[in-house]
């Protein structure tokens, strides 16, 4: 009889890879159901057989309480913002121009979309190219690869305020772009670069080697293999990373305050100052004048980010299912 730790978590223990825990396939669940009954029986036997002291009960209660507290915190945070904000969402919050009476978030929302598109236009080609190099072109033990990895890891850990300061010194001051859409987008592009690279590389590496060999065997070159075979099949994973990057851009504020500025109007050129929704939210919250509108803005921002992140998770899950079916 196979030993499985807790009766209830039997199906999880049966699965080979812990990384796939979140996405139990229906096929797996069906198979596990039968095994689950047997597991529960042995668990019951085991529980009677082993002596459970007071200490065991405490050690059991602690993680359960902690998980409960974590869940309660998450629930309270999100529900509190929603409950306080939704009643204050009004049509004038979405007026096309901002003034201090309607406190419209519409210009900021449009700016967020523009900023995101522009930042992605820089970050995605570079990040994808870098990932292709790391996953498909670089030879093992290549010095450059080690250096690139260290650099990407470093970039991933740099706080966003440092990015903001760098953007201010380089794009805004030295290149003379002033606080602008372009300066903000370039700063954000550098910020999400490591994320794009690591997720795209992982997605490329998840493509089975047999596909590469098949393509090479049919006479395709490396570039054609990348373009026709690898990129299409790694697409969900790459997209999941890009969407995660969008989530970070939309939520970012510290890197933007001194690179894109806080102008409330819509930009007419790449060199106009703009504020994104997060920066708008920060300005509102620190002014403290329009508490109700701030709650409403928080709801819009929160829902937007949650939607984006959920889309990423769904895509990543689809990828892992696809790879498993191969």
């Amino acid at each position: 009889m196979r030993l499985i730790h807790d009766g209830a978590s039997g199906p999880t223990a049966l699965k080979p890879a812990p990384a796939t825990a979140g996405a139990a396939t229906t096929a797996g669940a069906a198979g596990a159901a039968a095994a689950g009954a047997a597991v529960r029986r042995t668990a019951r036997v085991r529980r009677r057989a082993t002596h459970r002291s007071v200490r065991d009960h405490i050690l059991h209660a602690l993680p359960c309480l902690a998980a409960l507290l974590t869940a309660a915190l998450i629930g309270f945070l999100i529900i509190y913002i929603l409950v306080m904000g939704i009643p204050h969402i009004s049509p004038d919050l979405f007026s096309i121009t901002y003034n201090s009476v309607n406190v419209s978030l519409m210009p900021a929302l449009i700016n967020t979309v523009l900023m995101t598109l522009l930042a992605l236009a820089f970050a995605v080609p570079i990040g994808l190219g870098g990932a292709i190099f790391l996953a498909e072109y670089a030879r093992r033990g290549n010095r450059l690869v080690g250096l690139i990895r260290i650099a990407a890891d470093t970039l991933a850990g740099v706080p966003s305020i440092v990015y903001g300061l760098f953007g201010l010194l380089f794009f805004v001051t030295m290149l003379g772009w002033r606080m602008s859409l372009l300066a903000g987008a370039c700063t954000l592009a550098i910020m999400i670069l490591p994320l794009i690279i690591s997720t795209a590389e992982e997605a490329l590496r998840a493509v089975p080697d047999a596909w590469r060999e098949g393509s090479f065997g049919l006479g395709a070159g490396r570039l054609r293999t990348v373009g026709r075979i690898l990129l299409p099949s790694a697409l969900p994973g790459i997209l999941a990373g890009v969407i995660l990057g969008i989530g970070r851009i939309v939520g970012e504020s510290a890197a933007l305050i001194y690179t894109a500025g806080t102008a409330t109007s819509l930009p007419t050129s790449l060199f106009d100052s703009t504020r994104t929704l997060s920066v708008h939210m920060y300005v509102l919250a620190s002014e403290g004048l329009h508490l109700e509108k701030t709650y409403a803005t928080a709801v819009v921002l929160l829902l937007l980010v949650l939607l984006i992140n959920t889309a990423s998770v769904v895509l990543a899950r689809r990828l892992s299912r696809k790879v498993r079916n191969v």
């Binding site: 730790h5 807790d6 812990p18 990384a19 825990a21 979140g22 139990a24 082993t50 002596h51 065991d56 009960h57 050690l59 993680p63 902690a66 998980a67 507290l69 974590t70 998450i74 629930g75 945070l77 994808l128 190219g129 870098g130 790391l134 498909e136 450059l144 690139i148 650099a151 990407a152 470093t154 970039l155 850990g157 740099v158 305020i161 440092v162 990015y163 903001g164 300061l165 760098f166 010194l169 670069l193 070159g221 490396r222 570039l223 990348v226 989530g247 939309v250 939520g251 504020s253 997060s278 939210m281 919250a285 620190s286 928080a298 921002l301 929160l302 980010v305 949650l306 984006i308 992140n309």
Partner: protein, 287 residues
């Protein structure tokens, strides 16, 4: 003829991809270079140890010392760890070894969700919920180390949980089975065998949490009070390095501006050390 055209295309593609990959390195070098060039003069003028060790920050008299802010950052980060690490680790243990499949399917995405919430929303939540709560409970002003620690404690939860859980999941099942065969209970196995076996991963999660907490700006600015002074109590306000930059960069000029950049340089050095520790630990964890 056709073959050489293909070879040329391959060559060009290789160069393009390699250039894209190298841009990461260029970005890191640029960031370091710009902070060094702009921050180093002040650092040298004040003397690096005086700059970090002096508690007086008075732009009006051109006196720049960031010691109180370094200590402020460390206090707030320590507070976040005290609150976030036990909760996060225990939740990770629950998710990895105690949770039913269905609970796990609900709780895990919820934790991931927490990671995606923008820092301004956390800051706002701190401002409208946590600060008033502290004010009522302890009859103090409310903004201060405790409020910032609570907000940061919640913010580092997803990092702690995800990295610790991965480490706990990676412990070979033979460890668990061996302990069980020797008659240990499930709880005993988890806490005496699995958690110690995953220790380096858990420590790595804490280090990553430190990096996130010390670098967090907007959420902290909104709840920490921002007074430039040495910490006097957990209910009183301090200013962190990140808050200092974001608060004063808007109007700073000349020497004052350089001093702020030097602050960012010190912050970056902290982060680089933390990153180094993390990658060393990860290397060790992999064996």
């Amino acid at each position: 003829m056709q073959k050489s055209a293909g070879a040329l295309r391959e060559r060009l593609a290789f160069i393009a991809f390699a250039t894209a990959a190298t841009l990461c390195v260029v970005a890191v070098l640029l960031i370091c270079a710009f902070l060094l060039i702009n921050g180093l003069p002040t650092l040298l003028r004040e003397g690096p140890f005086a700059f970090i060790g002096n508690t007086t920050w008075q732009p009006a008299t051109d006196t720049y010392g960031i010691f109180s802010m370094v200590v402020g950052s460390l206090y707030v980060t320590a507070g976040a760890l005290v609150l976030g690490v036990p909760l996060g680790l225990l939740t990770a243990i629950y998710l990895s070894r105690f949770a039913k499949a269905r609970t796990k399917r609900l709780l895990q995405p919820a934790v991931e969700l927490l990671a995606g919430i923008p820092s301004v929303v956390y800051g706002f939540f701190g401002l409208v919920v946590i600060v008033p709560l502290i004010r009522q409970l302890f009859k103090v002003q409310g903004m201060g180390i405790l409020a910032a620690s609570i907000v940061l404690g919640i913010m580092i939860l997803p990092t702690i949980i995800a990295v610790s859980k991965a480490a706990l999941d990676a412990v070979p099942s033979s460890y668990y089975e061996g302990a069980l065969a020797l008659g240990a209970s499930h709880e005993r196995c988890v806490f005496s065998i699995i958690v110690p076996a995953a220790l380096s991963g858990v420590v790595a999660s804490v280090i990553l949490g430190v990096g996130r907490a010390i670098g967090e700006t907007m959420a902290v600015v909104m709840v920490v009070g921002n007074q430039v002074r040495m910490p006097v109590g957990i209910f009183e306000g301090v200013r962190t390095m990140t808050a200092n930059i974001v608060l004063e960069m808007g109007y700073a000029a000349d020497l004052h501006r350089q001093a702020l950049i030097a602050t960012a340089l010190v912050l970056l050095i902290f982060i680089l050390v933390i990153n180094l520790l993390f990658s060393l630990l990860r290397k060790k964890a992999r064996g």
